[in-house]
Symmetry: C2
Subunit: 287 residues, 2 copies
């Protein structure tokens, strides 16, 4: 994945009012400020935007909600493409939409559904190819849609049991950002521990923890800029001096030392390959 | 606080079954393995142990529970001293108990009650004096009782709003461990963010995040050994290269870079002054 020309925008999810099971209640607020960035990166109001609510168990409502949210921002060329099976990922209609899109937006829900229904299909291949080769092509995703961008994808895991080996579950993602592990709803759901365990498992990868209403614009598959009202927590395991994850039995508490953490907020930048932070000068404006 | 001869044992609290408001339900399980360490450090079964349930809103039940727990371990000389006011901290009976104790054990509850009712009183002075000068004298505390040991004490704060400046509340603690900020119930209650903000406020202090059923035996006011079934998260802010906490307005998301984190578990050791971890060799037994 060298010389990436497309743009990736993972988003930490929206405000969830604490009612996880009732997805309907989470629909009220779609992060408009963040979506405005998505539209801008995709070329503006005339961009062809395809919303994929595959992760969701209520795809119609989620699709409608994004239609409304993008319409509010003045966009007119919006399609909802609900993929429910690998076969759905091979239809001519689906491939046409993905080929013509300036931006593909993955909704929240269950990230495993995204990789189960889309991973390895023609849609996946077109997405990877266009993301690699086309300047201005945008892949955005919120919550599950952001987590699925990684190669080593967090598919689940208990926040309260974390740091006990085996508390985090990993699965194959779409591999759009192979150097990172992405977690979302990071602050409200207390997901430090599970990201730490994920980084202990894959210390050569960077761990991103995205707060709600917060995202990153990633260019060149490498240069990240924080957008939104919250923060991005970055886990750099390259400094670890001790990490017993590999040798521990399941259910045993872990030891890891000298993990480096960055807390970044709006407009701060991060270079994945160099593992380098560029923080915003104090006087800079909010973007 | 140089040349400390006493022993400090902060404990992360017990298993809370997720019912925070109903303190009664949290009483079923008192961390026996950890209490066994407390008894051992205090000199064994014949030690005079004084339980102080001042932080609790149900001191009689909490006191009874500790009486039972210590009795189970074979201890016979256990007193419960419930301090409800600064005046209670000056009675001859109270001072006599504290003077004769081999171990004082602070219960959980609200840590501000401990410093409000005991801070600056004769009990506080005797505790500090004996802790400083008497080998084998033990001060233990669980949850609120552990948090109150610090000088800069976390008195409250929202876990879900953390990393937004002003989400954590600080107050004066008992100053028994002036180089540290202590937080408890660390994993289950997702308190990474508030400890990070506390360390951003006081980057010269070490932040300890104690999981439930987990504690540290601290000797010389400096040498920490992890005990119990969970983990201790250590925040070292001395490596920070950027920290805008001082200049940010309340309600603004923070930026901090190059925070060092250690995740320690049973028998791992930490030297506060040297900021140095000594992790357990793989083959060592559980203590």
């Amino acid at each position: 994945m060298n010389e990436i020309k497309g743009t990736l925008i993972p988003i930490g999810g929206n405000e969830d009012k604490g009612i996880e099971k009732e997805e309907m209640y989470t629909l009220e607020f779609v992060e408009e400020g963040i979506l405005a960035h998505v539209v801008k990166e995709a070329g503006g109001k005339d961009a062809n935007i395809v919303v994929i609510p595959t992760a969701s168990s209520i795809p119609i409502e989620v699709g409608d909600n994004y239609l409304k949210a993008f319409s509010k921002l003045g966009c007119k060329n919006i399609d909802v493409l609900d993929i429910r099976s690998k076969e759905d990922s091979e239809t001519e209609h689906a491939l046409m939409l993905i080929r013509n899109a300036n931006c593909v937006m993955f909704s929240g829900g269950d990230q495993s559904k995204i990789t189960d229904k889309i991973g390895g299909t023609s849609i996946h291949k077109i997405l990877v190819d266009r993301y690699k080769n086309e300047t201005g092509f945008v892949i955005a995703g919120t919550s599950a849609g952001a987590m699925a961008m990684a190669n080593e994808m967090i598919s689940g895991g208990s926040a309260s049991e974390s740091f006990i080996k085996g508390a985090v579950n990993m699965y194959n993602g779409l591999g759009l950002l192979p150097d990172a592990i992405i977690d979302t709803h990071f602050i409200r759901r207390g997901r430090f521990g599970r990201q730490s365990e994920a980084v202990a498992k894959f210390p050569h990868l960077i761990g991103f923890g995205l707060a709600e209403d917060t995202g990153m614009i990633i260019k060149n598959g490498n240069d990240c800029t924080v957008i939104g009202s919250g923060m991005v927590i970055i886990f750099d395991g390259s400094t670890l001096t001790h990490n017993n994850e590999k040798i521990l039995e399941e259910g045993t508490p872990m030891t890891m030392t000298n993990l480096t953490i960055h807390v970044l907020s709006n407009s701060d930048q991060y270079d994945i390959k160099k593992r380098e932070v560029k923080v915003l000068p104090i006087e800079a404006p909010f973007i």
